[in-house]
């Protein structure tokens, strides 16, 4: 047995921290890319009974490598049940059956609203992004939402240019007013640390930093005046098991995936 190299990248720390947030027995609606990496890592470490749901129609997928796309054949082949795309959204997501929606973001703001539509003006965008996909209803209907995204000033902005998926709305109070069934984003995991919404205002607050990251570095990568929790935690470094499992998953896949 070779010894695991315990040196890890910030992306590895992010995936490990995101995976840890998933609890055993949960059902998780998984976006491709970083969320899928984290969810599959969780299933292979502490959460063997995690039910992975992919929007292409796989309920309870058990891939032995990372899927390369949202409709990778391995998802259907290993699933408990394969259903049509309308059924995924109507029978499984919409009624609030799914515990955790696991999303990425191109922009994320102070109130955890997500933009994956455009940078700039909608009518004449600076950058046209892929669009909504399943995210608006995942964000609305899952019991809670985890967001995993690399942190930078370009991504973490005061106000998203476009609300593709609602976190807590433009002023943090929309969710209750809209009667959205799920609790919304309860956790944001980045390559630098961990944020959670303030219980009162729903503003994202830094509640944890990864080992070797100081608060100043996180604030520099955040486009608003980031509040820091009084009991700021430091994320435990990835364990050998976590790193080995993550690296094996990625090796089995052959290539890293990005949405």
């Amino acid at each position: 047995m070779t010894e695991t190299d315990l040196t890890y990248t910030t992306d590895e720390m992010m995936s490990v921290a995101a995976a840890r947030a998933l609890y055993d027995g949960a059902s998780c609606f998984v976006g491709i890319g970083l969320p899928s990496t984290a969810a599959n890592l969780a299933r292979r470490t502490h959460a063997a009974n995690l039910t992975l749901i992919y929007e292409a129609g796989a309920l309870g997928a058990k891939p032995d490598r990372l899927p390369l796309s949202i409709g990778d054949g391995i998802l259907g082949e290993t699933a408990d049940a394969v259903v049509s795309v309308p059924e995924v959204f109507n029978y499984w997501l919409q009624p609030g059956r799914i515990d955790v929606g696991f999303l990425g973001a191109a922009q994320l703001d102070r109130f955890a609203n997500i933009n994956t539509t455009v940078i700039g003006e909608y009518a004449s965008p600076k950058v046209r992004l892929p669009g909504a996909g399943g995210a608006p209803e995942i964000a609305a209907s899952c019991r809670e939402v985890f967001v995993v995204v690399r942190q930078s000033r370009r991504t973490f902005v005061e106000q998203v240019d476009f609300v593709t998926s609602v976190g807590y709305g433009r002023d943090g109070t929309d969710r209750a007013r809209l009667g959205l069934p799920g609790a919304g984003p309860t956790l944001v995991v980045t390559d630098l640390g961990i944020m959670r919404p303030d219980r009162e205002t729903n503003e994202l607050v830094l509640t944890g930093v990864h080992p070797g990251v100081d608060v100043e570095r996180v604030r520099e990568a955040t486009g608003w005046d980031l509040r820091v929790a009084p009991d700021l935690a430091t994320t435990p470094a990835p364990t050998a098991t976590e790193l080995t499992t993550l690296r094996e998953l990625q090796a089995a896949t052959g290539t890293d995936t990005g949405e």
Binding site: I32, A56, E137, V163
Partner: protein, 267 residues
């Protein structure tokens, strides 16, 4: 009853300038060969509908076939952006591209309404997002029993749906298995349909997880082995992930794209 014809003939008969087309496939079974046949036959002014426009729509847009895109997620899955789509939206090249965008849930329900002969569908969706502000086909509706406000979206009823499937029999019954996406709904929502298949067989032996589209619900069947490449056809071929990556480079610049079209499609 479906007619079994060549792909060229099916496109020639069914697809006209100005039509609304849905080439559906959710990563699996994408009708790429049919899309390229449309480029080859130089159809213009098309309204293209798809939940997940990927590289075949990038090709149709870059080749100047499209006037409008109705969609919910447009990207090169597992790789990144669609450069031809971006160039059309951001710079109007080779022609301006009108976009009408929804969420997956909204698009799926629009197909369901279309397949069901209903003018609209109801869903819990869009609330609080900026989508209703930019997409006029999202409205509110009130539940007549509870008074709750929900989202309403209009049915999609394309002129032609185009899908790829594993098999058809000689009578034109179509069999699809694996991740079946929204293909049945797209076909049933559309006035006409073209189904390319890996093979035409004497008999459709049962396969676990398979659905069958009866011949009388399909217009044309065309045998096009590998017609989903670079996507995959479960039981027949694997996804060509390298092609998706290569597409990023081919499509990034207008001239490399154009030489690719001349070389690979317009031949």
């Amino acid at each position: 009853m479906a007619e079994v014809v060549s792909l060229a003939e099916a496109v020639r008969s069914a697809v006209h300038d100005g039509d609304t087309l849905a080439l559906e496939g959710f990563t699996h079974l994408i009708p790429v060969a049919a899309g390229q046949e449309i480029i080859r036959q130089r159809r213009r002014d098309l309204t293209l509908v798809r939940m997940t426009p990927d590289i075949v729509y990038d090709q149709l847009i870059g080749a100047g076939c499209a006037r409008k895109l109705i969609f919910s997620w447009g990207g090169n899955p597992g790789v990144g952006s669609l450069h031809r789509f971006r160039d059309a939206v951001q710079n109007g090249w080779p022609a301006p591209l009108e976009v009408e965008e929804h969420s997956h849930a909204g698009m799926a329900n629009r197909y369901v309404a279309g397949a069901s002969g209903l003018p609209f569908a109801v869903l819990r969706g869009y609330a609080g997002t900026d989508l209703p502000g930019v997409t006029s086909t999202i409205k509110q509706i009130t539940c007549p029993f509870t008074g709750e406000e929900l989202a309403a979206v209009p049915a999609l009823n394309p002129d032609v749906a185009i899908i790829h499937a594993q098999r058809a029999d000689r009578a034109g019954n179509v069999q699809i298995w694996g991740l079946v996406g929204v293909q049945k709904e797209a076909v049933l929502a559309s006035a006409h349909s073209i189904v390319t298949v890996e093979e035409v067989v004497d008999e459709l032996t049962p396969v676990p997880g398979a659905i069958v589209l009866p011949s009388w619900a399909v217009t044309y069947v065309a045998e096009v082995p590998g017609g989903a490449h670079p996507s995959y056809a479960q039981g027949y071929s694997d996804r060509d992930n390298t092609y998706y990556q290569a597409w990023d480079a081919i499509s990034r610049e207008r001239d490399t794209f154009e030489s690719w079209v001349s070389r690979e499609v317009l031949v």
